[in-house]
């Protein structure tokens, strides 16, 4: 039995009632294969095509080599292989969520009833604080991010958590989680948590906050490395928080979920020692990022650390890499993504009040794909620089002066 449960009774699992049919599972498996084929095989071939055909053509014609992702986009737009790649990748992305809508819909009522029961009992001791009057920002509701119908926030009935479940299962399809692979959705939290324990061995956060926590999956990863820390997660989306709360209580993870806009949080100054986020900032306008980083500064106790997993900035990548990453901005309904990547993250942190010398940005190993031996080589500086998305995660952050 997970630790922290009271009353000797484990909370039921909302996930246990999800049963795709034989054919729905087969469809999800095929969509996973399509995602891998377009996002890996075709993507690699496209890079090869560019470097061996398109770029040499530009050089032969005596034109200047492209300097930005946008320059490359102009060159690639008429290339048939690029069009097929884009069309297939877009459809695969769309089908990832389409493939889970029916099976989640079928059991949504049952899941909601389980969630309601858990929220009333809180067997593990975590909390769920919702604000029915919170206004969803326009940047959240304008587009359905990642082509997921309903995006992060849609609610259909009272106490709804089905959108949280739908997004979690859809992402699992995308990660290739078949019947035998429990794709770990909290890989980022786990990787950063482990890295922090190595980089700051004396650091022992009493309270930590995950901004844009969705269903809190990354906090679960952090809790593995800081089991004594009080874990808080904020998000504007009630269905994500309800789903996260139900899962956390079932898994025996004590997490305090609160529905708030991170631009202005309710916690007192210096309340947290660790403030994190994952793939979050590129989904909000840069002006909003600035406000949130100011909140991070205000909420950190002296000596506290803030660290955010993100996409690397434009200046850290080659023109091809920028073209490749920015595909999502245009075709995956992520309109703030390019503007965010054009920022200098240390500048953003400094403008939010952090001392320049405490700011950092680096690519850390993905704990899931890095062997123990390679991690040791990484720590001693003997591993070649890692790439975000290929065995590594890009992170940026700062430490508040003691």
């Amino acid at each position: 039995m997970p630790s922290g449960l009271t009353g000797g009774e484990q909370a039921p699992s909302v996930d246990a009632v999800y049963h795709p049919t034989h054919d729905e599972s087969a469809r999800q498996g095929f969509v996973a294969a399509l995602r891998a084929f377009t996002g890996r095989d075709m993507r690699d071939k496209l890079a090869d095509h560019y470097h061996t055909r398109v770029l040499p053509g530009v050089e032969r014609a005596g034109s200047t080599a492209p300097e930005t992702g946008r320059d490359i986009e102009k060159l690639m737009a008429p290339v048939p292989y690029y069009r097929f790649y884009s069309a297939m990748r877009y459809n695969a992305q769309e089908m990832m969520y389409q493939s889970v809508l029916d099976p989640v819909e079928r059991v949504a009522g049952e899941m909601i009833a389980i969630g309601r029961n858990i929220a009333g009992r809180r067997p593990t001791g975590g909390t769920l604080t919702l604000d029915p009057h919170l206004e969803l920002p326009r940047y959240v509701t304008a587009l359905d991010v990642h082509l997921a119908p309903g995006s992060f926030h849609r609610e259909y009935v009272a106490d709804d958590l089905s959108q949280g479940a739908m997004l979690a299962y859809g992402s699992k399809v995308g990660l290739g989680g078949g019947v035998h692979r429990e794709a770990d959705l909290g890989a980022v939290g786990n990787s950063i948590g482990f890295w922090l324990t190595k980089k700051y061995p004396q650091f022992a956060p009493r309270r930590m906050l995950d901004v844009g926590t969705q269903s809190g999956k990354n906090l679960f990863g952090y809790l593995d490395h800081y089991p004594d820390a009080e874990a808080h997660g904020v998000d504007v989306s009630a269905p994500m928080l309800r789903y996260g709360h139900a899962r956390a209580e079932h898994l025996g993870k004590v997490v305090h979920f609160s529905q708030q806009n991170a631009e202005s949080l309710s916690y007192p100054d210096g309340f947290f020692d660790l403030i994190v986020s994952s793939f979050f900032f590129h989904e909000v306008p840069v002006a909003v990022s600035r406000k949130i980083l100011q909140e991070c500064r205000r909420l950190l106790a002296p000596g506290g650390i803030t660290v955010h997993m993100e996409l690397p900035s434009h200046s850290d990548c080659s023109p091809w890499e920028n073209f490749d990453w920015d595909w999502d901005a245009k075709y995956n309904n992520e309109p703030y993504y390019m503007k965010f990547r054009s920022q200098d993250f240390s500048d953003l942190l400094e403008q939010a009040g952090f001392a320049r010398q405490t700011c950092f940005s680096t690519v850390i190993p993905n704990l899931e794909t890095t062997s123990e031996a390679d991690y040791a080589r990484y720590l001693s500086g003997d591993l070649p620089p890692l790439k975000h998305g290929r065995g590594g995660w890009f992170v940026f952050g700062a430490r508040r002066e003691a």
């Binding site: 399509l34 877009y90 819909e105 949504a108 309903g150 019947v179």
Partner: protein, 95 residues
């Protein structure tokens, strides 16, 4: 208490991009990809039937629903899906 019923939106909010010169071609790509998916689903169902019949003389639809591929069967399916994609989406030229 009666259970709430949810009816998900089926379409993501936002403008759908056009990758080809004509929107009909983009629509055709969706048809082809969806159809290929259904071929894969059907062939996996047949594979399930064959695997079940390898072990017993008669099976029911319930048996098919209950079937979960073991490691070996899942690995075979992963290979078959990839091979199907490579055959159906065979590019002209050397890409």
């Amino acid at each position: 208490m009666t259970e709430a019923s949810v009816k998900f939106s089926r379409r993501a909010k936002g403008k759908r991009p056009q990758f080809f010169d004509s929107p009909e071609t983009d629509q055709m790509m969706t048809f082809i990809i969806e159809l290929t998916t259904e071929v894969s689903v059907l062939s996996e169902r047949l594979n399930t039937v064959e695997r079940l019949l390898d072990t017993r003389g008669t099976i029911s639809r319930e048996d098919i629903e209950r079937y979960r591929p073991d490691e070996e069967a899942e690995a075979e399916r992963v290979q078959s899906r990839k091979a199907l994609i490579e055959r159906v989406f065979r590019m002209h030229g050397d890409q």
